[in-house]
C-alpha cells in the first residue's frame, strides 16, 4: 500500500507558495533561480539528504538536453548507490538520462588520482611518480598534509567546470564540457573549511603551484558562477547547523544558494484541527459516532488513542513550524521535498527532480 505524499497541502508553511510551482506551461521560458550558476555545491548536516538532493538537482538541471556532472568528494560511492549503478571509478561515466535527451555523468573524485594527474600535467613526471608513491609522499600529500587534499579535490571540480567540450576550442564563447557541475559536498561541519582552500593552505604553502592553484579555485568558488545550497530537515540540529553554516559562508564570502527542506511530512490535518487537537478541543462523541457509522468499533481505547496521536502530532507540527520559521527568516530561496514513503530509488530521484524543477530550483 502506498500513501500519497506531497507538500502542497502544508497548511502552515511560513513561506509564500511559489507561483512557479504551478505547472509550467509548455514552451514558456522557465524562470529558474540559479541562472548563470554552473557550479552547485550541496551540503547539509550528516544524513539530511545531501546525496539525494545533489542527485535530484543534477537530474533536474540536465533536462532538455543538457550535460551535467555529479561529483562526490568523500569516496563513499553514495552516487552509485543512489542511482543503483556500478561503483564509480576514476573516469566520468554516464549514470542517467534526463528528460528530453539530457545526460548526467558521475565521478567520485579521488585525491591521489587528482595529484598524479596534476603532477603529470605540470611536471611530466614519468618515473618520479612511482618514487613518490614508493616513499609515501603521495599518501603524505593526499591524506596528511592538511589542506592539500581539499585543494586537490576542489581542483578537480574546478577543472571539470572549466573544461571545454572541444578541448582545442578557446575563448569565452567555446562550449563547456558540462552545462553544470553538482557536488555532493562534505557535511556542514566541514564544508566551509573544505571550500575555503585558500585559507587552508595560506600558512602551509605560501608560494608554489599549490598556492596559485588554490587562488584560482577560490576565485571560482567565490564568483557568481557558484552557489552553495543547504539541505535540512525541520529539526533543531539540522536547522541550527544550516543557520551557522550560512553565517560562516557569508563571513568567508562564499555565494550562498538555496535551502532545501527535505523529507517533509505530508500534512493531513488542517490548521484548525491541529489547533483543536493540541488543546483537547476535538469532540470524542463526534469521532466515536463517525467511526460507528463506518462500522469501526469505537472503543474508548481507540478513540483515546486517536486523540493522543493527534495531540502528539500537533506538537510535532508546532515544532516543525518553529524550525520552518527559522528557515524562512534566513531569507534564502527555499525548496521543499516530500518524504518518500517507499524510500528513495531511481524513480524517487526523478520524482524529487521534478519537484525541484516545479519550484524553480532548476
Amino acid at each position: 500500500m502506498t500513501i500519497a505524499t506531497g507538500t502542497d497541502s502544508c497548511p502552515w508553511a511560513p513561506w509564500p507558495p511559489r507561483l512557479l510551482g504551478m505547472a509550467p506551461d509548455a514552451g514558456a521560458i522557465r524562470d529558474i533561480d540559479w541562472d548563470g550558476v554552473r557550479l552547485h555545491i550541496v551540503t547539509g548536516k550528516g544524513g539530511t539528504g545531501k546525496t539525494t538532493v545533489a542527485a535530484a538537482l543534477a537530474l533536474a538541471l540536465a533536462a532538455d538536453g543538457r550535460r551535467v556532472l555529479l561529483a562526490e568528494v568523500e569516496g563513499r560511492q553514495g552516487i552509485s548507490q543512489t542511482f543503483d549503478v556500478t561503483p564509480l571509478g576514476l573516469t566520468e561515466v554516464r549514470i542517467a538520462h534526463a528528460a528530453n535527451g539530457g545526460e548526467v555523468f558521475g565521478l567520485s573524485v579521488d585525491a591521489k588520482a587528482a595529484l598524479l594527474e596534476y603532477l603529470q600535467m605540470y611536471y611530466k613526471l614519468g618515473r618520479a611518480g612511482g618514487l613518490l608513491e614508493k616513499f609515501g609522499a603521495i599518501d603524505f600529500a593526499t591524506t596528511i598534509a592538511p589542506g592539500v587534499r581539499d585543494v586537490l579535490l576542489t581542483g578537480k571540480v574546478y577543472e571539470a567546470v572549466r573544461r571545454r567540450r572541444d578541448h582545442r576550442a578557446k575563448g569565452p564563447g567555446a562550449a563547456p564540457a558540462y552545462d553544470a557541475v553538482v557536488v555532493d559536498a562534505p557535511p556542514t561541519g566541514r564544508v566551509v573549511r573544505f571550500l575555503n582552500v585558500n585559507h587552508e593552505v595560506a600558512d602551509l604553502a605560501k608560494v608554489g603551484p599549490i598556492r596559485s592553484q588554490a587562488d584560482s579555485i577560490t576565485a571560482m568558488l567565490k564568483s557568481p558562477q557558484t552557489a552553495v545550497h543547504l539541505v535540512t530537515l525541520l529539526e533543531e540540529m539540522p536547522v541550527q547547523e544550516t543557520v551557522d553554516t550560512i553565517a560562516e559562508l557569508r563571513a568567508t564570502g562564499m555565494p550562498i544558494g538555496g535551502v532545501v527542506v527535505n523529507q517533509m511530512r505530508e500534512e493531513i490535518l488542517t490548521l484548525d484541527v491541529l489547533e483543536a487537537a493540541a488543546h483537547g478541543g476535538i469532540s470524542r462523541e463526534d469521532v466515536a459516532a463517525d467511526l460507528t457509522r463506518v462500522h469501526v468499533r469505537a472503543t474508548n481505547a481507540l478513540v483515546n488513542g486517536l486523540l493522543t496521536e493527534a495531540r502528539d502530532h500537533a506538537e510535532r507540527v508546532a515544532l516543525e513550524r518553529d524550525e520552518a520559521t527559522v528557515v524562512a527568516a534566513l531569507g534564502r530561496p527555499t525548496y521543499r521535498l516530500p518524504s518518500l514513503s517507499e524510500g528513495v530509488d531511481a524513480n524517487g530521484i526523478r520524482e524529487l527532480a521534478e519537484t525541484l524543477k516545479a519550484q524553480g530550483m532548476a
Partner: protein, 396 residues
C-alpha cells in the same frame, strides 16, 4: 525470545565503570549517553558524562556553557540516593594541546603548539576528534581513581564523535598514530636513520627526488614546518603511542561496556550491524543495542489499511455514498474524523516499518540484548526529557 537490554542492571553493577555509546551520526548517541548518565546518577552512582556534540539546548540544560574542557556538576538532579552527575563537552584542540604539554618540556611544547603544521593537524585532521575523545576518556579514568578510597567518579559515560561510520571511533586513533609514524614523515624527520649504510645512497637519492617534487608542489615552507614539528615531537612519540594503546586496552577491559545506538532506518542499522561484529572480533564487551526514535501509535488496534478504508467510507457517505441512505450529519465533523484516520494510517505504516526493521536486525543478531526507545514528539533538550528516555531505556 529477544533478550532485553537491562540498563538498570548495567548501571546498578558497581563493576561497570565505563559505558561507551556509539553508532552512526544523528541516531541519538549523545542523548542516550546523557540519559544513561542521569539515570545512573539518580540511582546513586557518581557519574561523569563526556559528551562530544550536544545539541545547543541540551548543552544549556546540562550547564555546558563554559567550555573549559573539564567536567562541571549538572544542576537539578535528584541526589537523594547519594549520586552525582558531572558533565563536560570535549574540546578537541585543547585536549591535544594538553597531551603535548604533558609529554614535552615547556620550551618544546611551546615550539610545537606554535607550529603551523601542528595547528592544522590538531584542529582539522580527520580522526583527531576520535583520538582526543579516547585521550580524554583515559584522563577521566585516571582522575576518577586518583584517590582510590574516595573516587571522584565511579562511572564514566562516553558519547562518541559524529562520525559517518560507527567504526571510525575504533579506527581513528590508530590511523592518527600511524600517520604520525608515517613513512614519509619519518623520512623527512630523519632520513639518515631510515636504512643501513649500503642502502642509504640509493635510498636517499629516491627520497631526494620525492622531497624535491613535493617541495615544488607544496612550497618549501610546508615541508620545513613538518620537519620541525616531527623533530620536536620525536621524543614524545613513544609516550603518544603508549597512551593511545593504553586507552584502547581500557576499552576491552571488563569494566568497560559498549552500547550501540541505532535509529530504525536501514543505513543506521547496517552501521550498527558492522559495529556489533567488530566489537565481537576485538572481544570488546557489548551490553546491547538501543533502537532509538521508534515510532509508536497510541491506537495500535487499528491497522493502516483499516483506517484508510474507514476514512474512504466516510468520504462515500459524505458524497451521498454508494449506500445512498446518507443520514443527516454535520459536514464540519466528519472531515475531522477522516483526518484522524488518515493521519493514523500514515503513522501506523511508519511504526510497522520501524518494527519490521528492528525485527530483522534481531533475526540477524540473535542473542544481542535490545531495547527500543520511542520517538518523543519534541527534541530531548532538558532533564525531564532525559529522564523519559532513561525510563524507556530501562524498559518502563
Amino acid at each position: 525470545m529477544v533478550p532485553v537490554l537491562d540498563v538498570d542492571a548495567l548501571i546498578g553493577d558497581p563493576q561497570t565503570r565505563i559505558i561507551v555509546c556509539c553508532g552512526a551520526g544523528g541516531v541519538g548517541k549523545t542523548t542516550t549517553a546523557a540519559a544513561l548518565g542521569l539515570r545512573a546518577a539518580e540511582s546513586g552512582r557518581r557519574v561523569v558524562v563526556l559528551t562530544i556534540d550536544p545539541a545547543r539546548r541540551l548543552a544549556q540544560s546540562l550547564g555546558l556553557t563554559t567550555l573549559d574542557n573539564t567536567p562541571r556538576p549538572v544542576k537539578g538532579i535528584d541526589d537523594t540516593l547519594g549520586g552525582s552527575l558531572d558533565a563536560m563537552m570535549l574540546d578537541m584542540k585543547r585536549t591535544f594541546d594538553d597531551v603535548v604539554e604533558a609529554h614535552a618540556t615547556a620550551e618544546k611544547a611551546e615550539q610545537i603548539l606554535a607550529n603551523p603544521f601542528y595547528q592544522a593537524v590538531s584542529s582539522s585532521f580527520a580522526g583527531t576528534q576520535e583520538y582526543m575523545a579516547m585521550e580524554k576518556l583515559g584522563q577521566l579514568r585516571l582522575e576518577a581513581d586518583r584517590d582510590p578510597d574516595n573516587p571522584r567518579w565511579d562511572l564514566i559515560v562516553v558519547d562518541t564523535p559524529p562520525s559517518r561510520s560507527a567504526l571510525d571511533f575504533l579506527d581513528a586513533p590508530k590511523r592518527l598514530g600511524s600517520f604520525l609514524d608515517g613513512r614519509f614523515i619519518r623520512l623527512l624527520a630523519a632520513p639518515a636513520k631510515a636504512g643501513g649504510r649500503a642502502y642509504l645512497k640509493v635510498f636517499s637519492a629516491g627520497v631526494n627526488v620525492a622531497t624535491k617534487t613535493l617541495t615544488k608542489v607544496l612550497g618549501g615552507q610546508m615541508l620545513s614546518d613538518v620537519q620541525t614539528f616531527v623533530a620536536a615531537l620525536d621524543t614524545m612519540f613513544g609516550g603518544f603511542r603508549k597512551r593511545a594503546d593504553h586507552t584502547y586496552a581500557l576499552l576491552s577491559d571488563r569494566m568497560t561496556t559498549f552500547i550501540v545506538v541505532a535509529a530504525p532506518e536501514r543505513d543506521a542499522l547496517r552501521e550498527a550491524s558492522y559495529f556489533v561484529d567488530r566489537l565481537d572480533e576485538e572481544q570488546m564487551p557489548l551490553a546491547g543495542l538501543v533502537v532509538n526514535r521508534m515510532y509508536r501509535v497510541s491506537a495500535p488496534g487499528l491497522s493502516a489499511a483499516r483506517a484508510l478504508g474507514a476514512a474512504e467510507a466516510l468520504d462515500d457517505e459524505d458524497s451521498g455514498g454508494p449506500s445512498g441512505d446518507a443520514s443527516p450529519k454535520d459536514p464540519g465533523r466528519t472531515p475531522i474524523t477522516q483526518g484522524l484516520l488518515r493521519m493514523h494510517a500514515i503513522q501506523a505504516e511508519i511504526a510497522a516499518r520501524h518494527e519490521s526493521l528492528a525485527k530483522r536486525f534481531v533475526a540477524g543478531h540473535p542473542g544481542i540484548p535490545m531495547v527500543e526507545v520511542p520517538a518523543a514528539s519534541g527534541d530531548i533538550h532538558d532533564l525531564v526529557g532525559l529522564r523519559l528516555v532513561g525510563n524507556a531505556l530501562a524498559g518502563s
